[in-house]
Amino acid sequence: MNQNILTIIIQLAYLVASVLFIVGIKMLGKTHTAREGNIYSAVAMFIAIVATLLVQEVLSYTEIFVTILIGSAVGTYVAKKVEMTQMPEMVGLFNGFGGLASVLVATSEYWRMAHDANIAMPVITGVTVVLSVIIGAVTFTGSMVAYGKLAGKINGNAITFSGQHPLNAILFLIMLVASIFLVLDPNNDIYMIAVLAIGLLLGILTVIPIGGADMPVVISLLNSYSGVAACFTGFVLNNQVLIIAGALVGASGIILTQIMCKAMNRSLVSVLLGGFGQGGSSA
């Protein structure tokens, strides 16, 4: 009885948060309401977090509060200190952390299910774990490269080498095969490690050939990816608010990326294929 009421409260809170996220994004798109929109969305996030703390399995409050406190302090400090001109790379950095978090969540849940003798991992869970790990990993390393390029920590030019596209294609195929094996035989960690490692590598390899001038578009696209990754972790954990907020970011991020491309007079495909510095011919 008590447990049921708690579940209903949590679900209703998730519903309120989802609506506030939608209203927030809508308001962010208009000049005079943008700042309030951001606050709406922050309130939505707060509600979602508080509701999740009520979940029955959540027991270790001290560790969770301490971790959130440290994360908030570091996040606020960095966000306040950064110069206005460095904003896009800051967004890239934070976005990468979001992708990393999705990878870790999916891996954590995978580990629990793969090593619990009493549970056979359902195919759906296997598929969604693989998807969130791959997309999250690409988001993480891709965003780190984008951040490095904008911050001048690595060469901002388009870095291309011969055989780049075939190499990516081969890695992608290996990752695909490992993913299928993982879904069929989820208790075998080696496939998981392979999928994770190649995902991380592909994030680097796909962003490295893109020039620094195109980085804002790339960050916008990776932002969309991090939404999709969060959305799939929602399927892994059977959690609606993750799916809704993730899908919102995933879909609106893709549209925004397209709009940004148009504003810069470029096509999304050519940005993705990279090598813009070389007059459009790549590899």
């Binding site: 939608i22 969770i64 206005m84 904003m87 979001g98 799916i243």
Partner: protein
């Protein structure tokens, strides 16, 4: 997860994606970066997943718990940093106007 449950979640996914597509239209170029930053903060929603993974006592699967705690740290950075950065951008925006 049961099939019925999966279907419901797929409904949620499709409808939320549709709303996401529809939300972004006629956004003035000056708002592109703040909007990207704001939705980046929202993608930090994975913090909810991190709390669920970090929540249980270590028990039989300490690695799951550790991964959850690390995820929680990075997700918090994403959420808090994302919102503060977005707010700073929009604050600038208002002063200019």
């Amino acid at each position: 997860m049961s099939i019925e449950n999966l279907i419901v979640l797929l409904y949620v996914l499709v409808l939320a994606s549709y709303v996401g597509f529809e939300l972004i239209a006629k956004v003035p170029p000056t708002l592109h970066t703040p909007l990207m930053s704001g939705s980046n903060a929202i993608s930090g929603i994975t913090i909810v997943g991190a709390i669920i993974c970090a929540g249980p006592l270590p028990g039989e699967f300490p690695l799951s718990k550790i991964l959850g705690m690390v995820a929680l740290f990075f997700a918090t950075l994403n959420v808090v940093g994302g919102y503060v950065v977005t707010d700073r951008m929009l604050q600038m925006f208002k002063k200019k106007k």
